[in-house]
C-alpha cells in the first residue's frame, strides 16, 4: 500500500475509533494515538522524500499511484507528492497534533467535536496528497463542511452568524471552483482528470482559459482570504473554538494558496500571464488592508484574523509575482504563517480561557501572572513581524527579494506597496504586546489566574520549536520547495521567452 494512502486511512480509522469509544479517556486516547501517528508519518515522509531526492529521483512527483474510480469520467484516486505537498503535509501533521492538545479540555460533546475535527483533517490531508481534480475538489469540500458545526456548536460570540457566513462564502467559492474544474476537464479534451497529465497536455484553448482561470483562482482564492472576499475570515476565526481557529488559519487557508498554484496557475499558464494582474492588485490590497484593519481592532482574535488576511494575501501576492524566488517564498510563507498563526490562536485561546475576555483594553500586566503564556505570545508576535531567526523573516525576505526581480513598473509599485505591510505589522503586534502583557495589573481578578497546564505547555512548545526550527534552518525546506516550484513555473517561463 502506498505510504500516502495512510494519510487518508489513519483519519478514517480515527473516525471509526471515535465512533466506537464510550468514555472521554477513550476519545482522548484515539485522538492522541491517531494524531501522533499522522505527525510521525508526515515526518517520516519528509525524511524519506529528501532521501529519495538526494539519491537522484527526478520525477515531478514521487510516491505516485493511481486507481481508476469512475472510468466513464476518467476520475481516478490518484496520489503523489512533490516538495510543496510534503511541506504542507508536515504542516498539517504538526497543527492537527497540537490542535488535539489545545482542545484537550473541551466540553460539552467532546466525542462529536473530535469526530468533526478528524473529518476536517481527513479532508485537509486528502487534498494535499491528491493529484486528481475530482478527488482534490471532494477532499476540499470534506474539509469545509465540518467548520459549520465546529463553529456553530462549540464556538463563542456570534457563532451562528459567523458559522453560516463562513460556510456559505466558502461553499460559494467552491461553486466557482467546480465550474473551473469542469472547464479544465472538458477544455483539455476530456481524457483525464489528473493534474500532471493535463499539465503535460497543455492544450486548454486560450479563450476557455480566460473564462476558467478567474473562476478557479477565485474559487481557491476566497479560501486564501482574497480581498474583497475575506470577510468570512475575521468573523469565523473570532467565533471558532481554539483548535478550530488553529486548524483553519494554520492549514485550511493554505488550501487556497496551494490550489491557486497547483491548479489554476499550473494548468492555465497563458491566462495567468494575461489576467494575473487583476488578482495581483487585489492581493496587494489584501496585504495592506488586512494589516491596517488589524491596527484598529481591539479583540485579540480579530487582530490575528486580520493579520492572517494580510499574511495569506502575501502568499497569493508572491505566487502571482511568478518568479522562482517569490514562489518559493510563498510556500515558505504558507508554512511559516501556518505555524505561527496556530501558535497565536492557541495562546489566545488559553488566555481567553482564563481571563474570559479577548478585549485588549481589559487586560494588562499578564506577563506577571502567566509568564509562560506571555513569553509564548511575545515569540509568536516577533515571528509574525519578521524577526530574524524565526520563520516569518525567512518567508517575507524571500518573497520581497523575489518580487523585486520583476523589473517593470507595475510589479515594482505593487511590491513597494506590499512592503509597507512589514511596518504596519510591527505596529499592531507591538501595540498588543505592550498593552496586554506589560504595565501593572489593572483587574484584581486577574491576579488569581494560573499559568499554562501541561497539555497547553506541550502544544505551545511544539509550535515554538517548529517556528524557530524553520527560522534557524530554512535551507532544507527551501531546497525541497525549489525544484517543485521550478517545475510548475517552467510553463510560465517558457511563455515569457
Amino acid at each position: 500500500m502506498n505510504i500516502l494512502s495512510f494519510f487518508v486511512l489513519i483519519p478514517l480509522l480515527m473516525l471509526l475509533g471515535l465512533w466506537l469509544s464510550r468514555s472521554l479517556n477513550q476519545v482522548r486516547g484515539v485522538m492522541v494515538v491517531g494524531s501522533s501517528a499522522l505527525l510521525l508519518l508526515s515526518i517520516y515522509l519528509t525524511i524519506d522524500y529528501l532521501g529519495l531526492r538526494s539519491a537522484g529521483a527526478t520525477e515531478e512527483m514521487l510516491y505516485t499511484d493511481s486507481y481508476m474510480w469512475y472510468a466513464p469520467l476518467h476520475i481516478c484516486y490518484s496520489i503523489g507528492v512533490d516538495g510543496i505537498s510534503v511541506a504542507m503535509l508536515l504542516l498539517s501533521g504538526i497543527i492537527v497534533f497540537t490542535g488535539t492538545f489545545a482542545s484537550w479540555k473541551l466540553k460539552p460533546l467532546t466525542k462529536e467535536y473530535f469526530l468533526w475535527f478528524t473529518l476536517l483533517s481527513l479532508g485537509v490531508f486528502g487534498f494535499f496528497i491528491s493529484t486528481d481534480l475530482f478527488t482534490m475538489f471532494m477532499f476540499y469540500e470534506v474539509a469545509l463542511i465540518p467548520m459549520y458545526l465546529l463553529i456553530g456548536v462549540w464556538g463563542s460570540g456570534r457563532k451562528e452568524y459567523s458559522a453560516m457566513k463562513l460556510t456559505l462564502m466558502l461553499m460559494g467559492a467552491s461553486a466557482f471552483l467546480l465550474c473551473g474544474i469542469l472547464g479544465i476537464y472538458y477544455g483539455s479534451g476530456a481524457q483525464t482528470m489528473n493534474v500532471l497529465e493535463i499539465a503535460a497536455l497543455h492544450n486548454i484553448p486560450l479563450d476557455l482559459q480566460r473564462i476558467f482561470f478567474p473562476l478557479t483562482f477565485l474559487g481557491f482564492g476566497v479560501l486564501g482570504a482574497l480581498f474583497p472576499f475575506h470577510t468570512w475570515s475575521p468573523d469565523g476565526h473570532a467565533s471558532a473554538p481554539t483548535a478550530v481557529s488553529m486548524l483553519h488559519a494554520g492549514v485550511l487557508m493554505k488550501l487556497g494558496g496551494y490550489g491557486c498554484f497547483r491548479v489554476a496557475m499550473y494548468l492555465m499558464p497563458e491566462a495567468t500571464q494575461e489576467l494575473g494582474w487583476i488578482f495581483l492588485v487585489l492581493t496587494t490590497i489584501s496585504v495592506v488592508y488586512g494589516a491596517f484593519s488589524a491596527v484598529v481592532q481591539t479583540d485579540l482574535k480579530y487582530i490575528n484574523a486580520y493579520s492572517s488576511v494580510s499574511h495569506c494575501g502575501l502568499v497569493l501576492f508572491a505566487l502571482l509575482m511568478m518568479t522562482r524566488t517569490s514562489c518559493t517564498g510563498a510556500i515558505l510563507q504558507m508554512l511559516s504563517h501556518g505555524l505561527m498563526t496556530a501558535l497565536f490562536f492557541a495562546l489566545i485561546g488559553m488566555i481567553y480561557g482564563r481571563t474570559h475576555t479577548r478585549d485588549i483594553r481589559e487586560m494588562s500586566g499578564l506577563m506577571k501572572i502567566m509568564p509562560f503564556l506571555s513569553v509564548g505570545y511575545v515569540i509568536a508576535g516577533l515571528a509574525n513581524l519578521g524577526l530574524p531567526g524565526l520563520s516569518g523573516f525567512i518567508a517575507e525576505m524571500t518573497i520581497f527579494v523575489g518580487s523585486f526581480e520583476n523589473a517593470d513598473t507595475f510589479h515594482r509599485v505593487c511590491t513597494i506597496i506590499a512592503c509597507t505591510s512589514i511596518v504596519i505589522t510591527a505596529v499592531y503586534i507591538l501595540r498588543v504586546v505592550g498593552k496586554i502583557l506589560f504595565h501593572t495589573v489593572k483587574n484584581p481578578h486577574h491576579l488569581e489566574l494560573t499559568d499554562a497546564t501541561w497539555d497547553e505547555r506541550f502544544a505551545v512548545i511544539c509550535l515554538i520549536i517548529a517556528v524557530a526550527g524553520l527560522g534557524m534552518a530554512p535551507f532544507w525546506v527551501s531546497d525541497m520547495l525549489h525544484d517543485s516550484v521550478n517545475t510548475i513555473l517552467s510553463a510560465h517561463l517558457s511563455i515569457l521567452k
Binding site: L73, V142, I145, G152, T167, A175, C179
Partner: protein, 473 residues
C-alpha cells in the same frame, strides 16, 4: 395474437399479480388475520423487485406499442425499491385508528400508480403513454386525500386532481397536434416526420407542460407545496421521489427519442425552465417553516437539477439522471423517514419543533443530517457525486452558464438545508421532542437509506453499471 409477448413484460405482469394478491387478501381477511398484512405486502414487493432485478434486452412488443430498454427495466427496479421504502415507513401511520381499516386501499392505490408509471416509461405510442400517465395520476389524487377527515388532506387531493386534469388536457391537445401534423402516434415513426414547424413546437411545449406538472417544474409547480403539506407524509414522500423520478426518465426518453429533430427547441425550453425552477424554488424554500412544505420546495429545486441531465440529451446525461434519481430516493426518503416518524410519534412538523433534537434523539438527528447533507451535495455523501455528474453532463454539451447558475443556486439550497441542521444541533431548547424509539420497519428503511447515502457515491460500480445501459441522441 402472440401471447408469449406478455412474458417480456415481466415488471408489469408481476406487479399486476402482486396487486391482485393484495386485493384479494384485503377482501377476504378480517380482524386478527390482518396483522401480517404490512409484512406480507412488503415481502411480496421485495420479491417483485428481486424478480426484476436483472435488466432484460431492449425490446419492442405489440407492434411497437410497448418499448422497453434495459435502462427502463433498471429504472423500474429502482422505483420499486423506493416504493418498498415508502411502505416500510408508512407502517406507523397505517396502524393509526383512522387509517387501519383502509390499509389495503393504500397498498393497492400506490401499486396502481407504480404500474401506471411502468407503462408510462415503456410506452411506444402516445396513447399508451397517456394511459400510463393517467393510471399514475388518478389514484395519486385518492392517495393525497387519504386522510379524508383532515381538511388539508382533502384540499391536497382536490388541488392535485384539478391540476392533473388541466395539464392532462394540455397534453392531449399537444398530442392531437402531433397526430395532425405527422399522422401517427408511434414513437418510432414520429422523428422522421418531424420538421419543427410552429405547430409541432407548440405540440412539444404542450406535451412538456403535461410532464412538467408531474415533475413539478416551475411554472407548473403551484400545486406542489399545498399537496405535499396536506397529503399524509408517506404519500408525500412517494410523490416527491417515485412519481418525479418516473416522469423525469420518461421525459428524457421521449425528448431524445421522439423529439430528437427538434433538439434546439426543447433545449431552449428546458434552459429557461431550469433557471426559473431552481432559482424560484430555492428562494421560496428559504422562508418555509413547515417541514413538509419546505421539502416540497426543496424537491422542486431538485427537479430542476434533474433536468440538467435531460438537457444534455446524451448517454452521459441519462446515466447521471438515473443515478441522480437513485441517490435522490435514498436521501429524500431518508429525510422523509425521519420527518414521518417524528410526526407520528410526537405530532410535530414545524422547524422550531426540531430545536435541540440532537440532545434527545441523537441518532435520528444524525440520520437527518446525513440525508440533508446528501441533498445539499456535500461529500463524501452520495448527493455530492450525483450532483457532480449532473453538472458534468450538462457541461459536456457546453451549457457553461447554466451550470454556473445551478451551482450558485446550490449555495442558496445549502443555506436552507443548514437551517434544519442548525435547529437540531445549535439552537438551545429546554424542551426538545422527548426521546422515543422507532419501530422496526422504520428502522429498516432508514438503515437502507443511510447505507445508500454512504455507499452509492464511494462505490463507483453503480454508476459504471448504469453507464453500460445508457443511451442518448
Amino acid at each position: 395474437m402472440n401471447y408469449s409477448q406478455f412474458l417480456d413484460m415481466t415488471p408489469e405482469v408481476s406487479l399486476i399479480v402482486l396487486i391482485l394478491i393484495v386485493f384479494f387478501y384485503d377482501l377476504f381477511t378480517e380482524g386478527k388475520e390482518r396483522r401480517g398484512f404490512h409484512t406480507l405486502t412488503c415481502i411480496l414487493l421485495g420479491i417483485h423487485t428481486v424478480l426484476n432485478i436483472f435488466p432484460g434486452q431492449d425490446r419492442e412488443l405489440f407492434g411497437g406499442m410497448y418499448q422497453a430498454y434495459a435502462m427502463t427495466d433498471i429504472v423500474k427496479t429502482i422505483l420499486s425499491i423506493g416504493t418498498l421504502l415508502v411502505f416500510l415507513q408508512a407502517k406507523n401511520w397505517l396502524r393509526r385508528d383512522d387509517t387501519r381499516h383502509k390499509e389495503g386501499e393504500f397498498y393497492i392505490l400506490t401499486l396502481c400508480t407504480l404500474l401506471g408509471m411502468n407503462f408510462m416509461m415503456s410506452a411506444g405510442n402516445f396513447l399508451m403513454f397517456f394511459i400510463g400517465l393517467e393510471l399514475a395520476s388518478i389514484p395519486m389524487a385518492c392517495l393525497a386525500a387519504f386522510d379524508k377527515y383532515k381538511h388539508e388532506s382533502a384540499e391536497a387531493g382536490a388541488k392535485y386532481i384539478m391540476n392533473a386534469m388541466f395539464s392532462t388536457g394540455l397534453m392531449l391537445y399537444g398530442i392531437s397536434f402531433i397526430y395532425g401534423t405527422v399522422g401517427t402516434l408511434y414513437f418510432n415513426d414520429i422523428p422522421t416526420a418531424l420538421e419543427g414547424t410552429p405547430m409541432q413546437i407548440l405540440a412539444m411545449v404542450f406535451f412538456f407542460a403535461g410532464l412538467g406538472f408531474k415533475i413539478s417544474l416551475v411554472p407548473f409547480h403551484l400545486w406542489t407545496a399545498d399537496t405535499y403539506q396536506g397529503a399524509p407524509t408517506a404519500v408525500t414522500s412517494y410523490l416527491s421521489v417515485i412519481s418525479k423520478g418516473a416522469a423525469a426518465f420518461t421525459l428524457m426518453v421521449i425528448l431524445t427519442k421522439v423529439f430528437a429533430p427538434m433538439v434546439e427547441n426543447w433545449q431552449l425550453l428546458l434552459y429557461v425552465v431550469i433557471v426559473i425552477t431552481i432559482t424560484l424554488a430555492n428562494l421560496f424554500a428559504l422562508k418555509q417553516d413547515n417541514l413538509k412544505r419546505f421539502m416540497a420546495f426543496s424537491s422542486i429545486s431538485q427537479a430542476g437539477y434533474i433536468m440538467l441531465a435531460v438537457i444534455s440529451g446524451n448517454a452521459q446525461g441519462m446515466t447521471s439522471l438515473v443515478f441522480y434519481v437513485l441517490v435522490y430516493i435514498a436521501a429524500n426518503l431518508g429525510a422523509f423517514g425521519v420527518i414521518n416518524v417524528i410526526e407520528q410519534k410526537a405530532g410535530k412538523i414545524e422547524m422550531n419543533d426540531y430545536n435541540g433534537l440532537y440532545q434527545s434523539n441523537p441518532k435520528l438527528s444524525f440520520l437527518l443530517t446525513l440525508a440533508l447533507f446528501s441533498l445539499a451535495g456535500i461529500p463524501p455523501f452520495a448527493g455530492f457525486f450525483s450532483k457532480f455528474f449532473i453538472f458534468a453532463a450538462a457541461f459536456s454539451e457546453g451549457f457553461y452558464l447554466l451550470v454556473f447558475i445551478a451551482l450558485v443556486n446550490t449555495i442558496i439550497s445549502l443555506y436552507y438545508y443548514l437551517r434544519i441542521v442548525k435547529a437540531m444541533y445549535i439552537i438551545p431548547n429546554d424542551k426538545p421532542i422527548a426521546y422515543f424509539s422507532s419501530d422496526c420497519s422504520t428502522k429498516i428503511s432508514l438503515a437502507i437509506c443511510t447505507a445508500g447515502i454512504l455507499a452509492l457515491g464511494i462505490i463507483s460500480a453503480v454508476y459504471d453499471g448504469l453507464n453500460l445501459y445508457a443511451f442518448g441522441m
